[in-house]
Amino acid sequence: MISRLEQLKLDALRELDLITGAKELELWRVNCLGKKSELTNILRSLSSLAVEERKSVGAAANRVRAELENGLTQKKCALREIQLAAAAREEDVDVTLPGRPLLTGRLHPITETIYEVCEIFNSMGFQVTEGPDVEWNYYNFEALNIPDDHPARDVMSTSWVDIEADKDRGPMLLRTHTTSVTARVVESREPPIRVVEPGKVYRYEATDATHTPMFHQIDGLAIDKGITMADLKGTLYEFARRFFGEDRGVRFRCDYFPFVEPGVEMAIECLVCNGKGCRLCGNTGWIEILGAGMAHPQVLKRGDIDPETYSGFAFGMGIDRLPMLRYGIDDIRLFYSNDLRFLSQF
């Protein structure tokens, strides 16, 4: 009997192996595992056997049934896989065709640069603050040690607003630098102060590839007890390192701005020639990035901050220059012509 069961199993599995369709499989199940199958008959007839034989034949029959059922399950899965694969072949896509486009908008490269610069200074405790574009002569010039006849005014040709002047604060103008916000901060806040002041600035200049009547700057100011020029260098060096990269050479040299003393200019190694000298850097190997210095005692006094107790530094830089250097843009007007073929590149 046991050998019969063994034979029955071998026959059934061989048959199963050849099956390729669901109908055949069902037929096989009925034949091999169905109510009228030989295996079922054997199982049903177990009761008629002697106890010892019943035990051994019963175990063998159950084993065979388990094996066949297992085979059936596996076959079902295999057939399902074949069926799915066949169906999938019918549903081919061309993966090289473009996807359904999402509408993409971008920040203007100037905005993006301002955010990036602010982020760097934010992380050093500087907070963004803003001031008016239309400004009094006082905050733009007088409060910053730039009286009417100062030669520094010559390089900041001013657009004047046709509104009656204030008797204390002078005529109204479009700010020529964001340092006007520094003058306001010094006047309105108490130390400790750490702020950055991004914004639009204006010059009375004809438009060409390097000049537009409006452009962007960011100024910064840190005032507290014990702030030194070493802190100025460290802070601005950290900015340069993070914005232009670890390996970019940075240079600090003496320069003059009326509202600071000592005055500092920070330059970086030319991004085109890496310091060897080229047309972009005027063969000097260096590109001026910002002006800075220790806050002038006179400026602090005007804001009622005692220069004997407090010290600090101020800096200011052009924003437009930064993406121009980074992306190799050679015409500043592109920023304000708002051609989507330009703006969509960033």
Binding site: E164, T228, S311, L343
Partner: protein, 800 residues
């Protein structure tokens, strides 16, 4: 300012290479903007003397010129009109790199037969040498030029283009730069020789000087030279002026310019015989006084301008320009030479009022010191005697009402530490300041240095000025680099900065490109926004507009943005979505303008990006409104929309954006008239939000609502209402009922399936209770109440 290295070497020994010198000056505050090497490419060119000129056998205009080079003679073919026997010339042998006189390109000189005669090289013009554009004839060198010497040794030079900062007028001179170089490189300055032989008659007997406006003239000096001959300047002097960018005129004028470049002190030469009454009066101009200046123009002066006058009339505008009547001419034989110090502000105002900027003006308005005056005057007098002949009267006239003693300034050592972050001893401070000309005295209580400023410096007024001097001499690179270690100020971000960033990020996420346009705009552009003749000119006008397009501060963003749309439409035929978030400028009484931050955005063209995929529908009102809703839902609760009345928008396709009862913006389709005016062909949608006004509504604190635990029941109803009934009225009626958790419109229809004048709206209403599962009966009851109300209030019926 242009500085010749050869000239500089007369006053200081220079051991550094030209590039090293440039770098030292730059680092210490005098930026080198350019270096020009004259003679860099003159390898092989030597000085020769013409010994014979013979006719060319085949050409009348050409000559065969024999040149003695010291080492031998050579013959070249030359067509220059200015050759003569004995002339010293620059000879270039075959193979020399030269600039082509015609094309201006650099070429290598080849051996050539010119009309059948071989030329063994050539005598060069200034243009061929790259000195100037002169190609009229060859360069004729002075007679003393040594034969066989390389031209580069004789004529070569390095010209620095230096950017002198506004605080250092003393550096607008060769001697000023020489002082810097000396201090930076540990060399000594060679003082200029200003001694000359004086005649016996004292100058006071021949000229008197009176200053009636001492507030505008702190010092006035003059010398008198008689028996001079006005002529062309010697070659070397002309060359130096040319290298520094000045045009030679005659020996007298050239000497005044030369000394100005060397000493930084402007001078002016009068024809002494034209000075009426032998007296100079330095006075304010009389209102509307007229003077014809050297350029031949008659100028009208005002009383805040200073003139140099004789007894009868103004002879010069002080520090600006001389008068034509006292001009030095070829016939002049006596010179009254002026060197003076004028008030910087006055010179600045006069120079700009008369539009007469000049080298002299630049020096005066930056505040050169009056102490420079006598030295420069003596040097110029000496040169005139040497180069134009004549005799100088004994002494100088020196009227000096503005004399001020330089007070020493105390520089405490701990001030250096607290400002620079480095410790320096008093000895180190003295070692830094002394080479710059400061007289130093060490102070022990408290530790510091008393420093007296040298007479030529006008920029040192307090201790911090001395600190900069010390820092730039020791070098900024010697100052350490530290990060701020002071107290972190309390961090309270400006809400507006934050809000602007959130709005920009949302809109770029919605597919809008940010733009940045000029804050200035023109009337023509603003007119396009409104019906004809209805635009009031905006109130904030520029006093000095650059162009008509930049005459007014923008009162809105839309004019600029529409212009941007139009210009992009010329090359972009797909969907365009752009926005700008920036200030507009609105006038206020007796104060700076109000500068609210405004958001303006435009949508036009197709709704999706261009693709091969199905559908290419165009944007409509609801795309614009959807964007506004999406944006505002993240910032505020419950924005409402009411019918709007913006004159630039389509009268029936616009809504006012209302937040808590305040109209803060608009959304709508552009009025066809406006569209036409901006040359935009397709329907365009605009929205605008006053972000400054929005700000207070965005700062509210949000509270969490629990997610419902009991299942919702959803019912759909289709209503028929009159066409005029708004969705809003239906929705707000439904929303008021208990158990209603949400209501959304999912279909809007008008057409043949509903009676004329009616429309159908279908709503999905969600019923939900926070505390139990709803039964059908409960929901049916509320739904019936809703229908009753809608029918009563709005005449709605159920669509069957």
């Amino acid at each position: 300012m242009k500085i010749s290295l050869k000239w500089l070497r007369e006053y200081v020994d220079i051991t550094l290479s030209p590039h090293e010198l440039a770098n030292r000056l730059t680092m210490a505050g005098t930026e080198t903007e350019g270096i020009q090497f004259i003679g860099e490419n003159w390898a092989g060119i030597v000085i020769g003397e013409i010994t014979a000129i013979n006719p060319h056998p085949n050409a009348d205009r050409l000559k065969l010129v024999t040149i003695d080079l010291g080492s031998g003679q050579t013959t070249v073919v030359c067509g220059a009109p200015n050759i003569r026997i004995g002339s010293k010339v620059a000879f270039a042998p075959v193979g020399t790199q030269l600039i082509d006189g015609h094309s201006g390109k650099s070429l290598r000189l080849k051996s050539a037969k010119i009309r059948g005669v071989t030329s063994n090289g050539m005598a060069c013009s200034e243009k061929e040498l790259g000195i100037s554009d002169n190609h009229e004839g060859i360069i004729i060198l002075p007679d003393e030029a040594p034969i066989s010497t390389p031209l580069a040794d004789y004529l070569g030079d390095v010209i620095y283009d230096l950017a002198i900062t506004a605080n250092r007028p003393d550096c607008l001179s060769i001697i000023g730069i020489a002082r810097e170089v000396a201090a930076l490189t540990g060399q000594k300055l060679h003082p200029p020789d200003i001694n000359y032989e004086e005649a016996t008659s004292p100058i006071e007997q021949q000229i008197s000087v009176e200053i009636t406006a001492p507030e505008l003239c702190s010092r006035y000096c003059a010398s008198l030279i008689t028996g001079i001959r006005v002529a062309e300047s010697p070659w070397w002097l002309q060359q130096r002026l040319l290298k520094c960018g000045m045009r030679p005129i005659n020996n007298i004028v050239d000497i005044t310019n030369y000394v100005m470049l060397e000493h930084g002190q402007p001078l002016h030469a009068f024809d002494y015989d034209q000075i009426q009454g032998r007296g100079i009066i330095v006075r304010r101009a009389v209102a509307d006084e007229r003077i014809t200046t050297l350029d031949g123009l008659e100028r009208t002066l005002s009383s805040n301008m200073l003139v140099i006058a004789d007894k009868e009339r103004a002879a010069a505008i002080a520090g600006i320009m001389g008068g034509i009547d006292s001009e030095v001419t070829d016939g002049t034989t006596s010179i009254l030479l002026e060197a003076a110090n004028f008030n910087p502000a006055s010179i600045h105002h006069t120079g700009s009022a008369l539009h007469l900027p000049s080298e002299a003006c630049i020096r005066f308005e930056r505040g050169i010191r009056p102490e420079l005056v006598p030295g420069a005057l003596r040097k110029a007098t000496k040169l005139i005697i040497e180069l134009a002949g004549g005799k100088a009267a004994k002494g100088l006239v020196d009227v000096y009402p503005g004399r001020q003693e330089q007070e020493p300034i105390l520089l405490p050592t701990d001030k250096i530490r607290s400002l620079l972050g480095v410790n320096l001893s008093t000895d180190q401070i003295v070692a830094a300041l002394t080479p710059l000309g400061f007289t130093c005295k060490i102070e022990t209580q408290p530790s510091g240095v008393w420093a007296t400023t040298p007479y030529w410096r006008s920029d040192i007024n307090q201790a911090v000025d001395l600190i900069e001097e010390v820092a730039r001499i020791i070098g900024y690179d010697k100052i350490p680099t530290t990060l701020l270690g002071t107290t972190l100020p309390s961090q309270s971000p400006e809400p507006m900065v934050n809000l602007k960033q959130r709005i920009r990020c949302s809109l770029t996420g919605y597919g809008f490109q940010e733009t940045v346009t000029y804050s200035l705009t023109g009337l023509e552009m603003l007119k396009k926004l409104l019906p004809e003749n209805s635009l009031e000119p905006p109130s904030i006008r520029m006093a000095n507009p650059m162009t008509a397009e930049q005459e007014y501060l923008r009162p809105n963003l839309r004019a600029n943005l529409l212009t941007t749309l139009c210009s992009n439409r010329k090359h972009e035929d797909g969907g365009i979505r752009i926005f700008e978030l920036g200030k507009v400028y609105l006038p206020r009484q007796k104060d700076l303008p109000d500068e609210p931050e405004v958001l303006c955005a435009l949508l036009s063209g197709s709704r999706q990006g261009k693709s091969w995929h199905d559908g290419n529908s165009l944007v409509d009102f609801y795309d614009a409104k959807g964007t506004v809703e999406g944006l505002l839902h993240r910032l505020v609760t419950n924005p409402d929309f009411e019918k709007g009345s913006d004159a630039s928008l389509h009268p029936n396709k616009q809504a006012a954006i209302v937040i808590s009862g305040n109209k803060l913006g608009v959304v709508g389709e552009l009025h066809p008239r406006v569209r036409e005016a901006f040359d935009i062909s397709e329907a365009t949608y605009l929205f605008e939000v006053n972000v400054t006004a929005l700000l207070p509504f965005t700062t509210g604190h949000k509270m969490f609502r629990p997610i419902p635990r009991f299942p919702a029941v959803v019912r759909d109803i289709a209503l028929i209402v009159d066409s005029g009934v708004t969705h809003y009225s239906i929705q707000s009626n439904i929303e008021g009922f208990p158990l209603v958790a949400g209501v959304t419109v999912f279909d809007v229809y008008s057409g043949s399936q509903v009676p004329r004048g009616k429309k159908s709206l279908a709503y999905r209403i969600t019923f939900q209770s926070p505390d139990h599962t709803l039964t059908d009966d409960e929901v049916n009851q509320v739904q019936q109440q809703i229908m009753d109300k809608l029918s009563r209030e709005l005449g709605a019926t159920l669509r069957s």
